[in-house]
Symmetry: C2
Subunit: 225 residues, 2 copies
């Protein structure tokens, strides 16, 4: 299941870290992953669940001809590794350097407190997926991109004033496209367009935008206040 051999061949940046062979601790064992390094791959034996302690990971699926869809983004507090069968159905890799806590399924079955925690997180995840399905099915490119920006704002800005806020995108244009069901070019053009309308400003540094009109951004995203 989880070892250095599972590194994806197509991602040269992935760094083979030592396998965490430490015995499962009282409340799970820790795991550090670098950006773009896989936590598990679709098809691996689904023996563990992972809590995201710090950072962010993405879950993706790939069709045979190479089309990729990022099916979910999971930030600190979230859970990954759920599977209907005994093999993972999605690949999980880190968006940014992250810390996870692994729990053997075997242990989850015994640990009632842990299961309560997971329950709450799964409820969240399902609601998030519903929103994502709505986005993918019925929103325009403009609405999709604006929705994603707003979501990032909410994650980074917890109760902060958003106007003029520097927003650090944890994803490249290509990843945003794969998450939103768009091409990377469309993501680019849409961001440029939003900048032209004065709602955002694209920073010179990669992965940085400044929010100029958060309220109008929410409107463009077709999200209610």
């Amino acid at each position: 299941m989880l070892n250095a051999a599972t590194i994806l061949p197509f991602d040269a940046r992935a760094i083979a870290l030592p396998v965490p062979t430490a015995a499962p601790a009282e409340r799970g064992h820790r795991l550090q992953v670098a950006r773009h390094e896989p936590v598990f791959l679709a098809g691996d034996e689904a023996a563990q669940l992972f809590e995201v302690v710090e950072g962010a990971v993405m879950l993706s699926m790939i069709l045979e001809d190479g089309r990729r869809q990022i099916v979910d983004l999971v930030f600190a507090g979230g859970v990954v590794g759920l599977s209907e069968t005994d093999a993972y159905g999605v690949t999980c890799e880190a968006l940014v350097p992250s810390t996870l806590r692994g729990h053997w399924k075997h242990d989850v079955n015994r640990d009632e407190a842990l299961r309560r925690l997971l329950f709450r997180q799964m409820e969240r995840q399902i609601c998030r997926l519903h929103d994502q399905v709505l986005s993918l099915g019925r929103k325009t490119a403009m609405e999709k991109v604006a929705t994603l920006l707003v979501r990032f704002c909410e994650l980074q800005g917890e109760g902060t004033e958003l106007r003029g806020r520097r927003l650090d995108l944890p994803m490249t244009r290509s990843e945003m496209g794969d998450y939103l069901g768009l091409s990377l070019e469309t993501v680019c053009r849409t961001l440029t367009d939003l900048q032209g309308q004065g709602l955002i400003e694209i920073g010179r540094q990669h992965g940085v935008v400044f929010i100029r009109q958060p309220r109008r951004l929410r409107q463009v995203a077709s999200l209610v206040e």
Copy 2:
């Protein structure tokens, strides 16, 4: 929350059934719903979870301008009514006449056995949503429609020989469109196209198709055997 007044005005076929005022039984109380009758509406107080005992329901979300997305289909055995907040985020209505079992959240918090059941179902639901996101984000109209047909086959055909099988679609073209993120016309054209290729045959009766080449249908759907 759940009462006759919650019947959607735009669905004239919905029949107002008496509210199930029966005291919650040992393991939840029963609820019968007719086709297109709501179980709960987005915004209702999320006080109950529901198991689908028999039939099928759909979960949908609507944007302000009327665009609708059916975010999930839940068949017998599944669970609906999960919510991140204290109000439902989606509307749930019956696709076919259905029987549900309601559980007050209050009770769920106490019932460990029930929570174990829900846990398993939520895991399933998350995997199903991942597949749906992949479909919506990266599949063509042809692949989407074929994928849905295959899924219906698997639900109705449990281990049966599929070739020549009569398949009863629980959804109209419009509902299929709202589920797949397509217009109803595109769903129509795609089905006609599949018939032209000899993979299916569209029955004269509404909601009926015959599967002619199940294997090729799976291939068209970009699903692996």
